[in-house]
């Protein structure tokens, strides 16, 4: 299956800019019921200052890929079975544990969806923020506290000085997510992975948080991987998109092109199935069926049972990632028809 997946060069000509290069990544979970193939040959790159949105539904492998990059995959049952994760020229997968630990937190950091369960409830936010500096920079606790207050001000938490000793539950959801962002930013990493950073937040707060994230990213010229299922958020902030389905990337594209002319039936179906604020009630297009069970991924193209265009070849041959243009690729045998319609 993997031999069919071709490597697509989709990078800006400047190789210096490439921060992270994920190549042919495979992750599986060995469970009691069998082997769940969560990630089946994912390739993507992120450059400094660039925002890559990884779009997919639950079970598409978007978060597992991120966990593999961060090196926080639960293992067992999760195992990286193949591939490379090249970060600033070094393969993270062959690196020693200590070295990898140094990369994590300092050079790449992650923001999680649920800030309340990602923060330690029995430590004040000041201690948790300060920990970044005592552990990685060897600072004294006193200096670390000053740094923590600075960080809280930077993510615009009002009255930071007074609130540095407060505990996570004393903050609102939006404020907690700001603290998560502050923690990720603390050591000014080169890459930030944000896994559904605003999904748990209200829209007005989501707008505040996304704006803050975009601003800090510009300021620090970081690479950002934004993992989300929200096509609206993607359209607002992403430079390029990778759409995932059943552990594979089915389409990659710069953001403007994909919304105008999707090259994969799954992307196309997703775009047509979301109700829109600027459109009145018409019956929604619904992709039929359900996402596949990862223990039994359909033969051929994993999307074929739900695809309105599926032909015999789709049920037998895994489509490679076809080059659509210099910057776009689609894993559909019939991408020309899809894009042409």
């Amino acid at each position: 299956m993997t031999s069919l997946i071709t490597q697509v060069e989709q990078d800006p000509p400047d190789p210096q800019g490439v921060l992270l290069d994920v190549r042919n990544l495979h992750v599986e979970f060995r469970t009691r019921d069998g082997v769940a193939k969560a990630v089946n040959g994912v390739d993507y790159t992120v450059s400094a200052g660039e925002t890559l949105a990884v779009l997919g539904e639950s079970g598409s492998g978007k978060s597992v890929t991120a966990q593999a990059i961060m090196g926080i995959l639960d293992s067992p049952p999760g195992f990286v079975t193949q591939g490379e994760i090249v970060f600033q020229g070094q393969d993270l997968l062959t690196m020693g544990k200590e070295d990898r630990r140094r990369v994590r937190g300092e050079r790449m950091a992650m923001i999680f969806q649920d800030a309340l369960s990602s923060l330690n409830p029995v430590l004040s936010v000041g201690e948790q923020l300060g920990e970044m500096f005592t552990v990685h920079r060897g600072m004294s606790r006193k200096d670390a506290k000053v740094k923590a207050i600075e960080l809280m001000e930077r993510v615009r938490i009002p009255a930071a000085k007074q609130r540095v000793g407060d505990f996570p539950h004393q903050f609102s959801g939006g404020m907690r997510q700001r603290i998560m962002i502050a923690m990720a930013m603390a050591l000014e990493p080169d890459l930030i992975i944000a896994d559904e950073p605003t999904t748990a937040l209200d829209v007005t707060v989501q707008a505040q948080v996304m704006e803050l994230l975009a601003e800090l990213q510009r300021e620090l010229h970081m690479g950002l991987i934004l993992i989300t299922h929200d096509l609206g958020v993607v359209a607002d902030v992403a430079d390029k998109i990778a759409v995932m389905y059943a552990g594979r990337i089915v389409e990659t594209s710069p953001v403007h092109e994909i919304y105008r002319k999707p090259a994969h039936p799954y992307t196309k179906g997703l775009l047509r199935s979301i109700p829109r604020l600027d459109q009145k009630g018409q019956e929604l297009y619904a992709i039929k069926g359900l996402p596949p069970n990862l223990l039994h991924i359909p033969a051929g193209c994993a999307f074929n049972p739900r695809c309105p265009m599926a032909q015999d070849i789709c049920r037998t041959d895994v489509p490679p990632l076809y080059e659509v243009s210099e910057t776009r690729a689609s894993a559909c045998h019939f991408w020309t028809e899809t894009i042409g319609e």
């Binding site: 959801g173 299922h229 359209a235 997703l270 199935s273 600027d278 009145k280 929604l284």
Partner: protein, 359 residues
């Protein structure tokens, strides 16, 4: 892709002479805040719902939107009589159901059913699908006599698009979207007139969300149902609703039909809320004006005086602190034949288009 999207045959805007099937008048729910262990004394109250009025007509969908903590779910629970009201009335065909109990309440409840948000926790994992959907018949045996129940449940499964053969399966054997269909089937079992749906699709994946939304639309036409559709997702609410009410801190701040609220909002909170919704169109990035509100929603235990939105509002003036704006057609628009002339609780209401129009 040959399947084209078809226009839903939406009921025309509500005819004024129609009798509402459900009327809510001055609805108030305060949850007491107490202190002390042995001698509990009340030190205040969380004003979750603080004076809400609206009507629901037969066959229409009323959407209620608002951020978390605005009281929208409490309104749903009050309509179901799952909480006792602090003050106010819920009139079902003219009868105040908050005063009912026992047999009379049971009769009314048959006609108002609820669909919950989380299909993972709202279905009993130890009951089969057949038992879950058939359970309402235990309480209301008159709807389906014992011998007919299995058939009735199979019919319901068919109606919501599930295979009737699944009747003996357990909830964990279904996906999220399928579970929500089971929740809907249970809501339909007693052939109610009103369904109160509290965030029914929020927990579902995008591609499955569309299936459930379409199903709800189809069932509404088929059974002439009235929906109270509570959600925080403004796009879905626009899609499904005939009228929309926007809630903030226990009050409705603006209410009107789809066009009035989305194309001609006059309340600053509605405008901010709409402008914050990400639109799946990267080309709209630069065309849109974003109103980014500062701060968080104040505590409902201690809401601001006057207009409750004033602490986050960019238009707030002294008058807003002193005088609470009432939900009515604002003076500037009164008597005008314009979509801007709808109920909006703001002293300084003005029209502002915030939803990007398609080119």
């Amino acid at each position: 892709m040959s399947e084209t999207t078809t226009h839903l045959t939406k009921e025309p805007a509500v005819a004024p002479d129609r009798e509402p099937i459900l009327s809510v008048r001055g609805l108030v729910k305060h949850f007491p805040l107490t202190q002390g262990i042995l001698f509990r004394k009340q030190i205040g109250a969380v004003k979750a719902v603080d004076g809400v009025n609206f009507d629901l007509y037969r066959g229409e969908t009323l959407g209620i939107v608002g951020e978390s903590g605005c009281g929208k779910s409490t309104v749903a629970r009050l309509l179901m009589n799952l909480e006792t009201v602090t003050a106010g009335q819920v009139l079902y065909k003219g009868e105040d159901i908050t005063k009912l109990s026992g047999k009379a309440l049971k009769v009314v409840r048959r006609n108002i059913q609820m669909v919950f948000q989380d299909p993972y926790t709202s279905l009993n994992p130890r009951m089969t699908v057949g038992d879950i959907i058939g359970e309402p018949y235990e309480i209301h045996p008159e709807v389906a006599p014992k011998g007919d129940r299995r058939k009735a449940v199979e019919d319901l499964l068919d109606v919501v698009g599930l295979n009737p053969e699944y009747i003996n399966r357990y909830p964990h054997q279904f996906s999220g979207g399928q579970r929500q269909r089971i929740g809907i089937a249970r809501g339909l079992a007693l052939r109610p007139e009103i369904i109160v749906a509290d965030e029914p699709v929020s927990a579902l994946d995008v591609s499955v969300q569309a299936q459930v939304v379409n199903l709800m639309g189809r069932l509404q036409d088929e059974f002439n149902l009235s929906y109270m559709f509570i959600a925080h997702d403004l796009s879905i609410v626009r899609h499904i609703s005939d009228r929309v009410g926007v809630m903030y801190l226990g009050k409705i701040v603006e209410i009107g039909n789809d066009d009035e609220i989305y194309e001609h909002p006059t309340h600053p909170y509605t405008q901010a809320l709409l402008s914050a919704v990400p639109v799946p169109d990267p080309d709209a990035r630069d065309r849109r004006e974003r109103i980014i509100l500062v701060g968080d929603v104040p505590s409902p235990a201690n809401p601001p005086s006057g207009c409750r939105f004033r602490t986050r509002c960019w238009k707030a003036q002294e008058r807003c602190t002193l005088e609470e704006p009432l939900l009515a057609v604002p003076a500037v628009f009164r008597g005008l034949d314009s979509p801007a002339a709808h109920d909006s609780a703001c002293h300084f209401a003005e029209e502002k288009q915030v939803v990007p129009t398609e080119e």
